[in-house]
Symmetry: C2
DNA sequence: ATAAATAACTGAATAATATTCGATAAACAA
DNA sequence: TTGTTTATCGAATATTATTCAGTTATTTAT
């Protein structure tokens, strides 16, 4: 057996999906060629960046999700943006924002479990120069799990 | 001219996309029927929930993004989950998590501009019984749930 | 360890879908 | 107005997904 599942998940995180023109055509009752024309236009304008899969993260072994508010040591990087670019390289970092307020960065981290999360914090404090962090672990994600099923 | 664009964006937020089996087949050099079989399996297991488009939110007029940490009035709802379900109904709420820490909810809000954001806060404090909120407006998104941002 | 049952893989055929093309119509600019 | 660009859309073509059936691999039961 060749376990291609991890490869598929990885590709779907990058994209490798496409719009369903004929289904959209039926839904909004316009010719499929018109739908096609309009979608290509959205893509050319850069309004649509890609198409990707939505996962049930628990089921793919990435169930632990934590939002980390970060204060950076002023000494380590020239700017929060520079730090953020470095932090973003880790594939477990799902998103990273530079924000207003008491904390410069908001890092959304997905790990297998709390142990992997703890290990991440420990190494990152050193590696990136986190001066102070506040962690908010997600107990339940309501909106990302929402998928409409009516046709 | 029939402006289909808003309809398309709305549908793409729900799904209306599909995996590109033949492209994946070429990429990882496995027969397309094998790819097909494995993807269907992932779908049946619920590991993949749907396929969606990824937008450039600035370009589609949803450029203002704020993370709102929320304390709820204990009186209004029976549980934070109940409140979250109500809050999630607003299409401008991109995600909502029930979290550990000082604030029960983390709401990710996408609006056109700061004025719409302010209007949202004003009405939500009353409507959902927000006792206390802390707002972190995203100045720059280095990485989103979906794709890395290059600009 | 062996047999039976189940799950996974795959090529060939078919069904469904996207894309191209050319013609028309609508919107826009000078 | 007139010319120019943008948008719509049906018919033909190209590409892609899906089904099916045979095979192999893996797991389960005896």
């Amino acid at each position: 057996m060749k376990d291609i599942t991890p490869k598929l998940i990885n590709l779907f995180k990058q994209g490798y999906c496409a719009p369903q023109i004929s289904r959209i055509s039926k839904k909004i009752k316009e010719p499929s060629t018109t739908i096609h024309y309009n979608i290509k236009k959205l893509e050319k304008e850069g309004k649509i960046k890609s198409y990707k899969a939505v996962f049930d993260y628990k089921k793919i072994g990435e169930g632990h999700c934590t939002y980390i508010l970060v204060n950076l040591l002023p000494s380590r990087y020239g700017s929060p943006e520079e730090a953020a670019r470095d932090i973003a390289k880790d594939s477990r970092v799902e998103s990273i924002d530079i924000c207003t307020g008491d904390y410069e960065l908001l890092v959304k981290l997905r790990t297998k479990d709390i142990d992997e999360y703890y290990e991440y914090i420990k190494t990152s404090v050193k590696k990136f120069g986190f001066a102070k962090t506040v962690s908010m672990t997600s107990l339940k994600q309501l909106k990302t799990e929402f998928v409409e099923t009516e046709d």
